[in-house]
Assembly symmetry: C2
Homo-oligomer: 373 residues x 2
Amino acid sequence: MHKIGIFGIDFYLFMYTYDSLFEFTCSIFQAMGCPEKDATLATDVLLSADLRGVDSHGVARLSGYVRLWEAGRINANPTIRIVHESPSTAVVDGDGGLGLVVAPFAMQVAIQKAAQAGTGWVSVKHSNHYGIAGYHAMQALAQDMIGMSMTNASPLVAPTYSLKRLLGTNPIAVAIPADKEPAFVADFATTTAANGKLEILQRKGQDAPEGWIQNKSGDVSTNPHELSQGGALLPLGSDRDHGSHKGYCLGSIVDIFSAVLSGANYGPWVPPFVSFLQPPADPVGKGIGHFFGAMRVDAFRPADEFKAHMDNWIRTFRAAPAVEGEKVQIPGDPERIMEANRRVNGIPLLEPVVKDLQATAEKLGVAFSPVEC
Amino acid sequence: MHKIGIFGIDFYLFMYTYDSLFEFTCSIFQAMGCPEKDATLATDVLLSADLRGVDSHGVARLSGYVRLWEAGRINANPTIRIVHESPSTAVVDGDGGLGLVVAPFAMQVAIQKAAQAGTGWVSVKHSNHYGIAGYHAMQALAQDMIGMSMTNASPLVAPTYSLKRLLGTNPIAVAIPADKEPAFVADFATTTAANGKLEILQRKGQDAPEGWIQNKSGDVSTNPHELSQGGALLPLGSDRDHGSHKGYCLGSIVDIFSAVLSGANYGPWVPPFVSFLQPPADPVGKGIGHFFGAMRVDAFRPADEFKAHMDNWIRTFRAAPAVEGEKVQIPGDPERIMEANRRVNGIPLLEPVVKDLQATAEKLGVAFSPVEC
């Protein structure tokens, strides 16, 4: 345990070994009734966020999944199946399962379709939150495929000029293999700033930069608590003059590919992740939706050629002259460096997260077993 | 001819009937040596920009294509062919042809692949500027398919923290069919502002908003002439705090899908559109690259179901409460309204564009025949 000051506030930070945190998380999923194989998979997906430094989407959310399961909104033992398909496409029904389990199933379908048809595209309905988008896209890399992953989410974002929240932060991930260089892995919300960044500002008691949020009247706001007062996150671009209509397009495309193609809920009907908010009473589909893609590189050109040019692309961009004190990064660089570090030095969890995990463990009769390092 | 004041400057504006402008443009392409069928197709693509209000990409560029042809950098009579394929993919070699002709060929390949395999994905090398991205994506709509289109372009954009221009404005278009509502048609550059907007400010003698451009040192600039002085356009998001790394990801994905998959030039090697700038002497591929996709809606769910939900999606978003004096628009709304207007009332061209077209006509021995309305 370490005492650290963040933004002038003292936090207690615990460092746990990845393996022990993995074992613990897996026990929690099994206590929910997940078969061992599903529990292991869900843990792998969830903790990939902690490894890659996306702390908001990792084990800190474990108690949220448990509460959704307690509320009967997650099926711990789903029958996930293909309900519609063509040579290069499928729709998967997640049967209300953990997105952490449904998404890997669907991504594997996309990869298998790609192996046969060159590309595979899978839209998913009746799912739940699937962790970080990048994990799923990256599954394609080992097969020399480009992987894509996107998901809709509960409405926190107002389209350009809208006073109403109609879209989620709807992330897009694209993973592209290279040869000697590490893969290109883009993974980003289609908003200017993710909700997790607002939470940090709330703790700091600091204002948000202009361009992240609007208040309930649609005016610029710097109040990080605005979302609880009828405000909204803004699409990537922030305002019309800076291209927010483009961020709105991106979020919409994610929503339509994930949910209108599959038969999930879209727009304002997407059910919330938090168990204390009820899903809309008039659903237009089932659960939340995802969309996955896999493209075999050699369905376009020999994989060796492609990967050699990707190395050249990556080296060219990384070597570009940069502003003082910064460098040009390749998408995926920061997360990869973070993962290498955390596999060795452990996963840091703040005290409130640890207490939340301890309470969840107690509730489910599971020992709190992570080992500090 | 009308005299109009724009930004305090008098311009002479000529209104031409669409049909007469079509006939004239087609004559120019034929005078370049394009077969009649290709000339007609190229004209249809080029003038779709004028119809839809994207004046920067329409007939105003005709003389630019002619100059590239004169410089031997456009092949007026190309043998466009598939050089690699799988059931759902292809790579098309444009043989140095007009992008206005190569792109429709490739999009048809994508549509034919989708008819068979559910989806079709085509990457294109050895092409040139292809007009507006949206035209090509929209070709899928009549077949109840979702259409996608993207292209790389000569480097005007600096990745986050880069001092060097490494990406083009690399647009993405996605067209999604609905039933009774008009289709959803997103078509946007992956930069905060398109170059055409800077040109307008140059004419006005006005500053650009912060967040559109940087100077050669990577600092914020509001000088609309910055690009001619070593500056760069900024990726969608403008700066790191407002998500420019996401715009950089998007532009990169377009570049890689269009050019690294196909074998075209990418990043700083993309040849310029203007004939007075030479292409790089050390090309890494052939010409510029595009990427097209077509997804049969009924490869996911029955088309009637999908389109009924798209109507609901569109109506829900369009009906959202908006800030005073504005409304929530569906992507494609402004362009569709513009097209309906211009088909009736004609295409407006500014005097410098008309003079440029007259000079081009004279050079090629073609009568300048557009009819004013």
